[in-house]
């Protein structure tokens, strides 16, 4: 044996091969690139949204260590006076904040932060850069509706000092004047303050309708003694929290949402891995004769193993880098979708830039290269075991592959069982559930080769009867190259099953929501303030609007609702409380659990015997059924409310509580109304009432009048918006799969050039050759489509009954539509047949002699 062989010649062989078959490698690179692009874009999009929120939250938090926060309508400002003037708590700063939409500043939600400039310096130092004009501060303090915006934002929208801005706040249009421009010194602050507008506390209170109230009080407390000292001074409904808790809550709120996105993007990478495996296997198989010779020349198996892995790693690296670049491009589009969903469901955030953290980039590259290398291990192992001067034929490999089939079936069983176990594990988190889901899906992929072998054997006689010799040849060819055909089928199967699974899930979800909307929203006309974003609660309807609507002669019943956020001290979070004076569902609402008789439920509710909680709150907080009384923070302190029923709610995954209006008013003393549902007298047409109300509130921006139909459409529009990103992911998964199947089938066909030469030489017509090719690819496509159906169903089942419930606390009714399966079959057939077209065209140009001479 030659002692050692330098690696360089080996690398040259790899390079030569790459030049001869660039297309294959291009596909490998593309496979990696698309997978990586998906993960990176999702990562960037959801990361940008939460970072944007985090940044502005941090910027507003400043150096505060603690916040005092209050009940549904904030804090009584007297608490601030008590802390500062009576107890001498110093430093302390009041904050009054809310969201406004400013048409002159791009019409996006902007955080209006009311501060006391005189109390600010220990907390935030942005004002150092406003300018040295006393007159500015004087205006800011003494003139109503004066604001300071960031210089960058102003410049971006061509706003200059002294300009008037139109603020849509609480549904009303208010003119405010820019009296100062903030020019933060550092870039981070500049970014953070883009979506922030400052006003004096007085101005903010007046603009946001919070006169007498504060959103919170910022404190800098040095130690626990100071913390307990302050806590002792606070009234029962005020909470003292570490400053970090707010941003933590935001992180937790969206964690499930972001994990779901990440998992879906990983799915694309898994499909990409099949593609890599396929390409690498193929390149190994083709080079077996070469490897055999090399082994004879003294190249060790280990060196070959390393060669294949290194080759793949280099190509995966190129693919990953491309993927990162592509991901960044995609991320810019994706961020809009993600931001919209966050605004609809969680909190108000505006993202202007996609930030590109190095971590995301590095992670994308690492994941891409790792996926490539892992997928190449098996083929590399195969290359290593090439015997020196052994039978340089693929049949060895294929023979071995066939012997593997029973083992693969076993792997499927093990993976499915493991996956099932992981999904069943009730206390496990979302990550475990997704791992289970992936195990089951990959299990299905392992099942593909045995199923392919069996199916093709079954199909052979039928093919023979229908298409004669060709009909028998096609399935046999597939079996003969099963090591690669089955991988291509598996890749396509996984991709198509994702389409089926996700489609069923979205379809079921939409159906459930539609049904829920039609049950819950029975009132004919709805009045609401036009909020900044769907997730923004607390806006109120003007009193005169409420009066006019409620006492309208065409109205038979009016149900008012007050939406506020209240604290659940035991669970350490807030929940949306809706105080209602009637059932907007007119008794149609569906309940997951009812205490006692359904008939007397609303009577007991109206009598203040207890509250209703949403199923999402129950599931997400892991509360038992029947639920224990719930503790809410009230002005008199923590108070328990018995739960009378658990209702379904798909409007939010954060949990909702229904309380009767009288109890709410008696506890919180807040008589404002957020929305009204109106039931119209039977003799009046709904449109007439809508038209009449619109007439009465003409030219008013502070009330939105919607018919039952409109509000349902809007709800479904939000739903569709939310799933737009899922749909986009599904589409990308299909593209990856499509490229995968294309490359696999093309490689297969191209590889058989010599065989085709023989066939042609022995008298097969070109037309027959085409038929053979199409039959083979068609069979593979059909098999993938058929296999994808059970896999897709299982995927849908897991998404609906495990992932959704654990992520969002929503239980959905699964709804199967034959259309999804038909579509899936059509997609896989189409993909497979299309993949046969290019080899077919090449076959047409084949020169028999050349083909025979090849290799």
């Amino acid at each position: 044996m030659i002692a050692s062989v330098h690696q360089a010649p080996l690398w040259r062989t790899a390079w030569r091969r790459l030049r001869r078959r660039p297309f294959q490698y291009l596909l490998l690179i593309l496979g990696v690139a698309l997978g990586v692009a998906m993960t990176v874009s999702i990562d960037l999009a959801s990361g940008s949204a939460s970072r944007a929120f985090q940044l502005s939250t941090d910027a507003i938090t400043g150096k505060a260590t603690h916040h005092v926060i209050g009940g549904p309508t904030g804090l009584d400002e007297a608490i601030y006076t008590r802390l500062r003037a009576e107890a001498g708590i110093h430093p302390a700063a009041p904050i009054v904040e809310g969201y406004v939409v400013v048409s002159e500043l791009g019409g996006q939600p902007i955080r209006l932060v009311g501060v006391d400039p005189l109390a600010e310096p220990p907390f935030r130092d942005y004002f150092g850069a406003v300018g040295n004009e006393l007159s500015l501060l004087v205006k800011f303090l003494t003139e109503p509706n004066t604001v300071i915006v960031s210089a960058e934002t102003a410049e971006r929208y061509g706003v200059v000092l002294g300009d008037a801005l139109t603020l849509r706040v609480n549904g009303q249009l208010v003119t405010a004047r820019v009296v100062g421009l903030l020019q933060p010194a550092d870039g981070v602050t500049r970014t953070a303050l883009r979506q922030v507008m400052f006003a004096d506390v007085a101005t903010a209170q007046e603009l946001l309708g919070m006169v007498g109230r504060l959103s919170r009080i910022d404190l800098i407390l040095p130690d626990e003694t100071a913390v307990s000292h302050v806590r002792a001074l606070l009234p029962a409904d005020a909470l003292l929290e570490p400053a970090s808790s707010q941003s933590n809550a935001v992180q937790q709120m969206t964690a499930a949402f972001r994990l779901n996105l990440a998992a879906l993007s990983l799915l694309a990478l898994v499909v990409g891995m099949f593609l890599i495996y396929n390409t690498v296997t193929f390149s190994v198989v083709q080079r077996r004769p070469l490897f055999g010779i090399l082994r004879c020349l003294g190249v060790t198996g280990e060196q070959l193993f390393r060669l294949i892995l290194a080759e793949t790693a280099v190509l995966s690296l190129i693919g990953s880098l491309l993927g990162v670049a592509l991901g960044i491009l995609l991320g810019r589009g994706m961020v809009r979708l993600v931001t919209q969903t966050i605004n609809d469901f969680y909190f108000v955030v505006t993202v202007q830039d996609v930030s590109i953290p190095l971590f995301s980039v590095v992670r994308g590259v690492v994941v891409g290269v790792a996926a490539g290398v892992v997928a190449a291990i098996l083929p590399a192992w195969e290359a290593m075991r090439t015997p020196p001067q052994g039978t340089l034929y693929r049949s060895t490999l294929e023979g071995k592959s066939r012997r593997l089939l029973p083992w693969l079936t076993l792997v499927w069983l093990v993976l499915s069982l493991a996956g099932g176990l992981l999904l069943w594990w009730p206390q496990a988190g979302l990550t475990v559930a997704f791992t289970g889901l992936f195990a089951i899906l990959i299990g299905f992929a392992f099942l593909t080769p045995p199923v392919t072998a069996v199916a093709m054997r079954l199909v052979t006689p039928l093919g023979g009867r229908l298409f004669g010799v060709l009909g028998r040849m096609a399935p046999r060819d597939i079996i003969r190259s099963i090591s690669r055909t089955s991988v291509a089928i598996a890749a396509l199967m996984v991709a198509v099953s994702v389409i089926i699974g996700v489609s069923i899930m979205i379809g079921s979800f939409r159906q459930t929501v539609t049904q829920w909307l039609s049950q819950t929203l029975q009132a004919d006309v709805y009045l609401s303030p036009p909020g900044v974003a769907t997730s923004q609660i607390g806006d109120v309807l003007p009193e005169d609007v409420v009066q006019t609507a409620v006492s309208h002669p065409a109205v038979i019943q009016a149900v008012t609702a007050r939406h506020v956020a209240v604290q659940l001290p035991e669970l350490g979070r807030t929940v949306e409380l809706v105080a209602v004076d009637g059932d907007v569902s007119a008794g149609q609402r569906a309940y997951a659990w009812i205490d006692g008789q359904r008939e007397t439920l609303w009577a007991r509710f109206a009598a203040g015997e207890g509250i209703f909680v949403s199923e999402t709150l129950l599931i997400k907080e892991g509360l038992p059924v029947p639920p224990p009384p719930l503790t809410l923070l009230t002005p008199e302190g923590a108070r328990q409310f018995p739960v009378l029923a658990v209702f379904y709610d798909y409007s939010s995954d954060r949990g909702t509580i229904l309380m009767d209006r009288e109890s709410y008013i008696s506890v919180w003393g807040d008589t404002a109304v957020s929305t009204i549902g109106l039931f119209v007298r039977p003799e009046t047409a709904v449109d007439e009432l809508v038209a009449d109300l619109q007439q009465q509130f003409q030219a008013r921006e502070d009330v939105l009048i919607q018919s039952n139909q409109e509000i349902r459409q809007e709800a479904l529009a939000i739903f569709d918006r939310t799933f737009a990103i899922t749909a986009a992911l599904r589409l990308l998964a299909v593209i990856v799969a499509f490229i995968g199947i294309l490359s696999a089938l093309m490689s297969l066909q191209l590889e058989r050039a010599r065989e085709f030469g023989v066939l042609r030489a022995t008298g097969m017509t070109l037309r027959q050759l085409w038929q053979l090719t199409l039959m083979e690819t068609g069979l593979m496509g059909a098999l993938a489509g058929v296999l994808a159906m059970p896999a897709g169903f299982v995927l849908a089942w897991v998404l609906i009954y495990v992932i959704n419930v654990r992520s969002f606390g929503w239980t959905l009714q699964m709804r199967l539509e034959p259309g999804y399966f038909g579509q899936a079959l059509a997609v896989s057939l189409l993909a497979a047949l299309l993949a046969g077209v290019y080899p077919m065209l090449r076959l047409g140009r084949i020169v028999i002699a050349t083909a025979l001479r090849q290799e």
């Binding site: 500062r84 150092g128 303090l141």
Partner: protein, 387 residues
Amino acid sequence: MNGWRWWLVLVLGGVLVVGWWWQGQKTAVSTEENSLIPLLSEETTDGFALALTPNAMTFPRDLGPHPDYQTEWWYYTGNLETADGPPFGFQFTIFRRAIRPPDQFTQTGSDWRTNQIYLAHFAVSDVANGRFYATERLSRGAIGLAGAQAEPYRVWLEDWEVAEIAPGQVRLYASTDEVTLELTLTQTMPPILHGEGGLSPKGVEPGNASYYYSIIRQKTEGVVTINGRSHTVSGLSWKDHEYSTSALSAEAIGWDWFSLQLDDGTALMLFQIRRADGTVEPASAGSFVQADGTVLPLHLGDWELEVLDTWRSPTSGAEYPAKWHIRIPALELELTGAPLMPNQELTVSTVYWEGAVAFRGERNGRAITARGYIELTGYAQSMRGRL
């Protein structure tokens, strides 16, 4: 008629804003005066009430605030001692400034809306240890955070306050992380009206004047706590209360103010406004208060003031007078004195020296001693040339 204090307030009024707010935390030292000059000159006094008539003040009404005047302050200084000797000095001042004239300001819905800003300076001189503690606070005069009222008399900024606890008796409380002062001040004389029946001219123009009275020789008892150590103290305090609306004369660069309480029951107040050309503003004036409360107004030329020594601040670099000789021939009064400790410089949003002093001398041929406070402003300005 503390002309220079008034000047101080004008400076403070601007600095409280420019220094404290717009410059954030890095306000540290002085020298904002560069940017203050245009600021103050562009400022208007239109729309504010003017001090025009003598004998306009009545009590207790005028113990309270006068929001229609642009500036106002309640100024407490005092010399204290423990039973076994070590002396302490204190200064506690609450300034009020209207940042908008009443006719240009409308109260809107929010109670936070105000045109009244309050600023407090609190300083304690621990003479035995040579330590000087000075702190500044700022707040708007709204929602009870800061304010003043006549009946019952109370002036406060957050938890720092001077409040009437009995007729003629107030409690003074101020506290920082290091120093807490809790005193009871008992009035021994009726209010002293300076100038012409309380109308104290600051220049030749009508209205360029302030209403100015003092309540002097207030018997003071209480506790000074420094870094956790409490000292029971007693002594004499001096209160100034002044309100006005006026422009600053362009030539003025600073002032020296003296308040001395003599051991024969009399008291002396003097102020000199220094001008850029080295001369003294002719409106500079003073009052000599007899033990029975009779006030003898003093005018420039009635006294001779000689600076015998100076002290350079290591913090600001400013050079302050540090030893004086005062002679008032008409009263047969001659006094020489110096600060109880050199460094009593406040480096807050504006930089000035205000500290406890001790004097010794003769009146009518009899030996006499005096304790009091001296305020020196406009000296840190000299930095301007160097920067």
